[in-house]
């Protein structure tokens, strides 16, 4: 991928990611998160991880964000927009985040492999899904089935949590 496209999608991801935090309206935050995840999926595809990019679009921008929007509209969260901001606590949180950012920049700056370009791939197209499937059903078969049990447990848990308790 050309550097131009990389920076376009990186900026898209970061700007709309920041919009998630800055927006006061939860629906606007959720829509910004959708755009941010789409930019991230493009970044995955720029790394030749096509399967992960597709999964990102299907699972995150498809399923998870619909769930978020559904819950936001179910709860009708417009009442808390005009609340007072605690400036001291906000400044403290922002300071901790900025310290973490400086730490990350310093670590990446001192990493010698971070200044190398990505090695070229053998062909122009790679059989991405086949390779992930072979790893998933061969080497990682047991974790895969455990994840299946986890999803089942999560489903049952959600049904139990959202059931109305008899009073």
């Amino acid at each position: 991928m050309s550097p131009f496209l990389f920076w376009i999608f990186a900026l898209l991801t970061l700007i709309f990611g920041a919009a998630v935090v800055i927006n006061r309206n939860p629906v606007a935050s959720a829509m910004s998160l959708v755009v941010s995840f789409l930019g991230l999926a493009a970044l995955f595809m720029s790394l030749n991880a096509y399967f992960i990019g597709i999964i990102q679009v299907l699972v995150y921008t498809g399923a998870v964000m619909v769930l978020f929007l559904f819950i936001i509209m179910l709860l009708d969260l417009r009442a808390e927009e005009g609340r007072q901001i605690n400036w001291l606590a906000s400044a403290g949180g922002l300071a901790v985040a900025l310290i973490l950012l400086g730490q990350i920049f310093s670590v990446v700056g001192h990493l010698t492999i971070a200044h190398k370009a990505f090695p070229p791939l053998p062909g122009s197209t790679i059989d991405d899904v086949r390779n992930i499937g072979a790893a998933l059903f061969g080497n990682y078969n047991l974790p895969f089935q455990i994840v299946g049990v986890l999803v089942l447990v999560a489903t049952i848990g959600v049904v139990l949590l959202s059931k109305r308790q008899p009073r």
């Binding site: 970061l14 992960i52 990102q56 978020f68 990505f118 080497n139």
Partner: protein, 106 residues
């Protein structure tokens, strides 16, 4: 030329944005969205390392991409459970603001 460091920087900034969201916002749903941002930032750096560490055949390291696949699955389950908890909380207290949820038992 795009290097590994560029992807790591983008991933780091995205993580910090999510972290700032968890620290600054008081709406539980926005906090959950910021958590998703942090998980995705970790995924981006994992995929970047997977592309960088090619194996002997010259292909990306697919073990890492399987790991990212698992992370996405677990994150989706986590969102479902988290939102169910928020709905149950809203039913009990009619709020999703963390400032209003300060007692351990109600």
């Amino acid at each position: 030329m795009i290097t590994l460091g560029d992807y790591l920087i983008v991933s780091g900034i995205l993580f910090v944005i999510g972290f700032a969201g968890v620290m600054l916002r008081r709406n539980l749903i926005i906090i959950l969205m910021s958590l998703e941002l942090m998980l995705n930032a970790a995924n981006l750096s994992l995929v970047a390392f997977s592309r960088f560490r090619v194996d002997s055949t010259g292909l990306p390291n697919y073990d890492v991409q399987v790991f990212v696949f698992f992370i996405i699955t677990v994150a989706a389950a986590e969102v479902a459970v988290g939102l169910a908890i928020i709905v149950a909380l809203y039913r009990a207290r009619q709020t999703t603001d963390v400032k209003d949820i300060s007692s351990l038992k109600f």
